[in-house]
């Protein structure tokens, strides 16, 4: 294993069984009652490594499994198969007690600044909770110092600590959420669409805050987003997901200047730009299939302009391209595009 990777994900699979109770599972088929499970295949066989100090972004459209991936990495969902390693240690099978030392190293920032803070707790209680929990026997004074320090570092006045979340704006709440994550001095932060719910002028503030924190604390980010221009701006490397599968993984510059996977190409062509010349959008035919019944072969074959019979039969394997890029596509492999 390379020594420079902090987090490593190997062949990760996460499926959800949404079939409900026993009675909901029973269906009539050819005159016989059979029990049927409805499975959402949210994450399928994904592998990647995150290097220390970098920002790896995962992009994809809604329902592609990027949030599930983030939560599985964080240990919020147990994976169905595959492994998650942190600093060389396997963490996906640990009990919640064994997981505790990792909880101070890995933290998460959530999308919805309204739902991610407990409305019945003051900012002080929200931010101090992890401090007290992970530093048993810490004095009140020390905890208060840490609270003040972390609040100042996210640009919040410690004077406001006794207020409730609903008294703050969306941007300020997201700062509180970041303060809570930073309170335990983590090394690795998973940010799940941290700016998607914010206004443009506030987005810039929060993005700057995240980048500053990374610089000061030498943080490693797993950044989940659907906004490609944000991803281009802050990422070291970018992974593109479609229907629970990885399409392409490449350094940000490389990916945005020369996308290889046909889905990445379509995605990039769809980003609107301010002031620039109107680009020709690549139109994908059809709709995104549901992750309940994945198509055979390559998951993208139904909408891909380059799909042939092999794409409809055989699941493509990832192959190395460029300096450190990966792409999962038959057409690229065969040199058709």
């Amino acid at each position: 294993m390379q020594t420079d990777s902090l987090v490593e994900v190997k062949n990760l699979v996460k499926h959800f069984d949404i079939s409900g109770g026993l009675l909901d599972q029973l269906t009539m088929e050819n005159g016989r009652i059979t029990r049927r499970h409805t499975i959402v295949q949210a994450v399928n066989n994904i592998s990647f490594a995150i290097k220390k100090g970098e920002t790896l972004s995962v992009v994809g459209e809604s329902g592609c499994g990027k949030s599930t991936l983030a939560r599985t990495v964080m240990g919020l969902y147990p994976p169905n198969s595959g492994e998650v390693h942190y600093g060389g240690e396997r963490i996906d099978q640990l009990s919640s007690k064994q997981m505790l030392p990792f909880r101070t190293k890995m933290q998460m920032v959530f999308q919805d600044p309204y739902a991610s803070l407990n409305p019945r707790m003051t900012v002080r209680q929200i931010v101090e909770e992890p401090i007290y929990f992970h530093n048993k026997g810490i004095t009140r004074g020390d905890a208060k110092d840490r609270l003040h320090k972390v609040m100042r570092s996210v640009g919040m006045d410690p004077e406001w600590a006794n207020n409730y979340p609903h008294e703050f704006s969306g941007g300020q709440r997201q700062r509180i959420s970041i303060a809570r994550a930073l309170a335990v001095d983590p090394e690795f932060i998973v940010a799940d669409e941290p700016i998607a719910a914010l206004d443009v002028s506030i987005q810039a503030q929060v993005l700057n805050l995240l980048m500053d924190a990374q610089e000061e604390r030498n943080l490693t980010y797993l950044f989940i987003s659907h906004d490609l221009s944000v991803v281009e701006h802050i990422s070291t490397r970018v992974a593109v997901m479609y229907l629970g599968c990885l399409c392409e993984l490449a350094p940000a510059k490389e990916l945005f200047s020369s996308p290889r996977h046909p889905y990445t190409q379509a995605l990039l062509s769809a980003i609107p730009t301010v002031g620039g010349k109107r680009k020709k959008h690549i139109h994908l035919s059809g709709d995104v299939p549901t992750p309940i019944n994945l198509p055979a072969g390559c998951v993208f074959n139904g909408r891909c302009p380059h799909a042939n019979d092999r794409c409809r039969m055989e699941i493509p394997q990832s192959m190395k391209v460029g300096s450190e890029g990966l792409v999962v596509c038959h057409a690229v492999e065969e040199g058709r595009i």
Partner: protein
């Protein structure tokens, strides 16, 4: 932005503002407070102690209210069939009714919140088992259970013993009969709350399930609990009154409002209407103000419900 104390927060809150602007809620609240004071301070306010046989003179029986011909100024609302001062008896009866009402609701809430929280948070088979138990409990009518238990109790231990433990027994019966209401309400809001990101954030911190359940989820599920609590208090007082009316609630020696109405009913055709009438009015007003307060609280906490 400034930091404010709890009291200041409350003073500036919509809760207080809305409340003060609503005459119905405000009046109901005042009447309820008067009833609570009257009931719990009965021992100090009441001119007679109706539990003390020394005070009672059978010769004073069925005296009409003070303002009617034949009334005695000592007995403001007249006396009942045993010669007890109706005003004093009503105050003590109000106290019994309120104790049973609040006690039963406290028991319901305790059981229901506990079961609902665990069922909603744990999910899977724990949830199925607990909620099926709740369904079974709900399928028995309160009255049926109460009649059954108190009848058995009276037969097994005799009336004297029954009189001693009537209050806790009624609290137990009514409390047990209605806890599924709470369990269902709490479970529903736990299911909604536990999907929210702050619960995930607590998991990411590493907090234990129990701590997340009690510290994070529970406080956010309590608003609907407050609403049903008001209605449940009214229901519990009514259940007690109904049981007493059919003779299975409070004994005549320690009458509640319900048993007073029951006792008075025997005299209504002999012209002593006041023995039933006054406790009846008190009961109706009490239930009404509690329900009106509950309505206001529900509208306040759930503004999406359109006020017709």
């Amino acid at each position: 932005m400034k930091t404010r104390s709890r009291l200041q927060r409350f003073k500036e809150s919509y809760f207080l503002h809305d409340f003060l602007r609503d005459p119905v809620a405000l009046t109901s609240f005042c009447i309820l407070v008067v009833f609570l004071v009257l009931g719990f301070a009965a021992a100090f306010i009441a001119p007679f102690n109706p539990y003390d046989a020394m005070n009672i003179n059978i010769m004073d029986a069925e005296i009409p209210p003070a303002w009617l011909p034949g009334g005695n100024p000592d007995f403001l609302f007249g006396t009942d069939g045993q010669g007890r001062d109706l005003f004093s008896t009503m105050l003590y009866g109000l106290r019994v009714s309120l104790i049973i009402g609040f006690g039963a609701v406290a028991l319901q809430a305790f059981l229901g919140i506990f079961v609902g929280l665990i069922a909603g948070f744990m999910g899977k088979s724990v949830e199925s088992i607990l909620m099926r138990i709740a369904d079974v409990q709900l399928s028995f009518s309160t009255y049926m259970v109460a009649i059954f238990i108190s009848a058995i109790f009276q037969a097994a231990f005799g009336l004297a013993k029954y009189e001693e433990i009537a209050v806790p027994l009624l609290i137990l019966i009514i409390g047990f009969a209605e806890w599924p209401q709470y369990a269902r309400t709490v479970r529903a809001s736990v299911l909604a709350e536990k999907k929210k990101e702050y619960v995930e954030a607590a998991k990411v911190i590493g907090l234990s399930k129990t701590r997340i359940m009690w510290r994070h989820v529970l406080p956010n599920t309590l608003s609907p609990v407050f609403v049903i609590s008001t209605i449940q208090v009214a229901n519990a007082i009514m259940s007690e009154a109904a049981l007493s009316f059919v003779g299975l609630g409070m004994p005549v020696t320690q009458p509640s409002l319900g048993s007073l109405i029951n006792v008075g009913f025997e005299y209504i055709f002999s012209g002593s209407w006041w023995i039933t009438m006054f406790p009846g009015i008190v009961l109706v007003v009490l239930i009404l103000v509690i329900n009106l307060l509950g309505d206001w609280l529900r509208d306040f906490l759930n503004p999406k419900l359109y006020k017709g």
